[in-house]
Amino acid sequence: MWELIEANKRKSLILFFSLGLTLLLLGYFFGSAYYPDGGGFIGIFFALVIWGILSLISYFSGSKILLAVSGAKEVTKEVHPQLFNVVEEMKISAGLPAMPKVYIINEAAPNAFATGIKPENSAVAVTAGLLARLNRDELQGVVAHEVSHIVNRDVMFMTFAGIMLGSIVLISEVFLRSLWFGGGRYSSKSSKSSGQGQMIVMIVAIVFAILAPILAQLLYFAISRKREYLADASAVRYTRYPEGLASALEKIANSTEELKTANKVTAPMYIANPLKQKGQKLTDLTSTHPPISERIRILREMSGGANYVNYQNAFNKIKRSNSQIIPSSGLADQTSIGLKEATVIPSSLGLNKQMKRDTGDIMMKVNQYAFIQCTCGLKIKIPPDYKKSELFCPRCGRKHSILN
């Protein structure tokens, strides 16, 4: 398993350096475009400063920012015991050194993400809509997928690659805008002999400013997609139950709600692309996630075991290709891991009304509402700022006393 992480790290480093090189070239060209004599190095310096500041911010408070932006709230075991149990099961199965923190997001759309640059200090966040929709096995599949992102160091990598991408986009944008407003001033100042060379540098810089962000994004998306497959494969290995994740993905795909708190930057962090595509044409290249239907087909094709080899075989069968999605060290592990049977807990039928009610209940619990079950069958929800020591059931009028 450690070799797998190592292989992953190596590949990430290559991508990381190519993004870094793009960033430096960008700085160099922009600098030269303004000051032909030695300006390139000033440009590099500024590019590095911008990148450094962004990296520091994300290293020290990236998780906090992500969790705050998505409106996630940390919960205790009392709020949702099953979610806690499932996270702990996956912690044991994946061999994480510490229990990840558990967050619930107040959203009706089903989705989940993981954060934490180091496995010792990680968090798993799921939406209330997800908890209301999924049964135990499905929830386990989703949590396993998220935990794999932590174990495979995807969170760390996507955070830093995202920062690099962000810097590239930011610098290109600043450069193009500055041209619009006052770039001409400098070129008219330069001497006539270097005018032509300067012109060429300028054109190269403009072309670069337009192309670099696009290329960097495509690179970023391609890697993000590959990591989703790997996380699916790891999730099956941890749970030994591919159908759980498959049917969870199916439910997520069938939902019509859009996640309000997600944006382009945070999208790769989620289990399924939270942004519904408008035009489907370009999705293959510009999507952060592989098509969900394909992920489900691969999971359902798995047979004979839950190890990486089984996932790779299913992948090749569905994609009709020989491309390798799992690093070789993962495939070298030939131990057969038996598949688990479904948990025999009767799941409530996915009735729409009940589901909406459950979603609401979970959200209220997260926000520290108290519940009283009245003998007439009504569930009374008490907001945390309710001060009186008793209340009357709105349906039957029975008096209930409130303890705290």
Binding site: N85, E89, I345
Partner: protein, 184 residues
């Protein structure tokens, strides 16, 4: 003189080799122990949950006396078991009996709606999952450690310092599979 130096060097190399071999064996044995404690915590948790479960279920299930007696019996067997093998066997029987209980619950709709019971059932299911996931990593560690003890040259050191083979935690698959599937 040269002969003496050569002899000293050879002795030093051998001593260093023995030390490093010994340390790596200790490390492996500790890993096995650590993995075992992971399972042990969960087994204890399950033993603690069972009296509560039986207490909750008792009022509803009047006709399942036999299953409940079995659960009590296997539970105390599991607590008394000392070796890994004995424990694995008793725990396997206990899992089987609990599985039977879970199937019978389907006949008692009132019980299925009992919040206390549902919470206990969730805890029990989770504990059993944790046992099975922890078992996997324990058995991996044991395999690695036992291989080291049997293979040359580490087997010499293992023999000298009395490193003994550890037992696998194997729950008989037949017992686990014996839980009949529920069809709705």
């Amino acid at each position: 003189m040269t002969g003496l130096i050569i002899l000293l060097v050879v002795v030093a190399v051998v001593v260093l080799f023995v030390i490093s071999m010994y340390n790596s064996l200790i490390q492996l044995r500790n890993r096995v122990k650590n993995a075992w404690s992971q399972i042990d915590v969960q087994l204890k948790r399950r033993h603690d949950l069972i009296p509560n479960l039986l207490e909750t279920v008792k009022g509803y299930m009047k006709h399942e006396r036999e299953i409940m007696e079995n659960i009590t019996k296997y539970r105390s067997q599991a607590i008394d078991a000392s070796t890994v093998g004995e424990k694995a066997q008793a725990e396997g029987l206990l899992s089987g009996a609990l599985g039977q209980l879970r199937v019978q619950v389907e006949n008692y709709p009132d019980l299925k709606a009992n919040q206390n019971f549902l919470a206990l059932q969730e805890e029990l299911t989770s504990t059993e999952n944790k046992i099975s996931y922890a078992r996997q990593s324990y058995n991996d560690q044991v395999l690695f450690y036992n291989n080291k003890i049997q293979m040359f040259p580490s087997n010499i050191i293992a023999g000298m310092f009395k490193f003994l083979q550890e037992e696998f935690f194997q729950v008989e698959d037949e017992k686990e599979r014996a839980v009949p599937k529920v069809s709705f």
